[in-house]
C-alpha cells in the first residue's frame, strides 16, 4: 500500500529555498550572538565596576579597622620588644588575633572574590568583542 502512495509523492516537487536564505540565517544568528555578547559585556562591566567600588570601600574599612583596633600597634611590638614577645608568644598572638578586624576582613575577601569573578569573564568577553571587530576590519 505504502509503495503506491510513495510513488504518488514522488511526483511532488521539492521546493528549493531561495539562494540567499542560508546566508541570511547565518547572518541573523551572528547578529544575535554579537548583541548577546555586548549585553553580557555591559552587564559584566557594570558588575565589575560595582564590585570595584565595593572592594575599595571594603579595603578602606579594613584599613580603618586595623587602625582603630590597635592591631598595628600590637604588631609593631614584634620589632620593638621581640624578646618579651618570644616569652609570652601565646598571649601575644591571642591578643593579636582578637585585635584583627575580622568582619571587615571577611567583607574585603568576599568583595575581592566578587571582583575577580566579574573580571575574568569580562576580560574573556571583551577579548572576543575585539577579536571579532578585528576580523570585520580584515
Amino acid at each position: 500500500m505504502d509503495q503506491n502512495y510513495e510513488k504518488l509523492f514522488g511526483y511532488l516537487n521539492e521546493v528549493e529555498p531561495p539562494q540567499n536564505l542560508l546566508s541570511k540565517i547565518i547572518l541573523s544568528v551572528q547578529r544575535q550572538e554579537k548583541f548577546l555578547l555586548k549585553k553580557r559585556c555591559a552587564f559584566l562591566l557594570v558588575g565589575w565596576m560595582g564590585s570595584a567600588a565595593l572592594l575599595f570601600w571594603a579595603a578602606q574599612s579594613v584599613a580603618d579597622g586595623f587602625i582603630e583596633s590597635g592591631f598595628l600597634k600590637f604588631f609593631a611590638l614584634i620589632f620593638s620588644d621581640f624578646k618579651i614577645i618570644a616569652v609570652y608568644w601565646q598571649s601575644y598572638f591571642l591578643s593579636l588575633s582578637e585585635a584583627l578586624p575580622t568582619a571587615s576582613l571577611i567583607v574585603f575577601f568576599v568583595s575581592f572574590l566578587i571582583f575577580i569573578n566579574f573580571l575574568k569573564p569580562l576580560a574573556k568577553n571583551v577579548k572576543i568583542v575585539f577579536a571579532s571587530a578585528r576580523l570585520r576590519i580584515i
Binding site: M1, N4, Y5, E6, K7, L8, F9, Y11, L12, N13, E14, V15, E16, P17, P18, L21, L22, K24, I25, I26, S28, V29, Q32
Partner: protein, 193 residues
Amino acid sequence: MNNFNNLIDEKLVELYLDGEAVALDVLVERYLKWIYNFTARLCGDRKEAEDLTQETFLKAWKNLKKFDQKKSFKTWIFNIAKNTSIDYLRKKKSIPFSNFENKDGENLLAENLVDLAPLPPEIFERNNLAREIEVAIAKLPVKYQAVIFLKFNNDFTFQEIADSLDEPLDTVKSRCRRGLALLRKILMENAPK
C-alpha cells in the same frame, strides 16, 4: 568545513557549544531545504516559509544549550519547525479549516474510512499530477499534512514523526492512514470525467 560535513548532528552540536562556530553553519545547511519545504507546505506560502525557516533556526540556536545530545537533533528541529508554523497559523487565525472537519475538530469522514485502498493506476497518468497533489494536500487538516510530509517527503519513521510532533505513536499512524484515505478520496473526486 569539509571535515564537519561527515559528522553526525549531535557531534556538530557538541562542537558548536565548545566554540566551533562553523559547526552550526553545517547544521543549518544540512536541514535548510527540509525545514523550508516543511514550513512551506504547512503554511502554504513560500515567502512566509522563508521567515518561518529563519525563525526555526534562530529558536534552535537560542535553545541549543538545552538540547539533550542523547536525543535526535532531526526530530528536535522539526518539532521547533512544527510549533513555529502552528504559531504562525494561529496568529493569522487561519489554521486551514478542512471541509472534512466539524466544529469540534473531529474528522468524521476519516473516522468512517475503514480501509485504505491503493491508488488506481489511472491517477498516475494525469497531466499536472504534481499540482493536483499539492492542491489536494492543502485541503487536508494541518495535522494530517504534517504527518504525511514527514513520512513521504522526508522518509521519517513513524517513531521519528511521533517525536517530532510530540504525539503518541498510534496517533501518528492513525493520522497517516486517515490522511492518505482523504487524499485518495480528493484525488478520485477530481478524476477527469
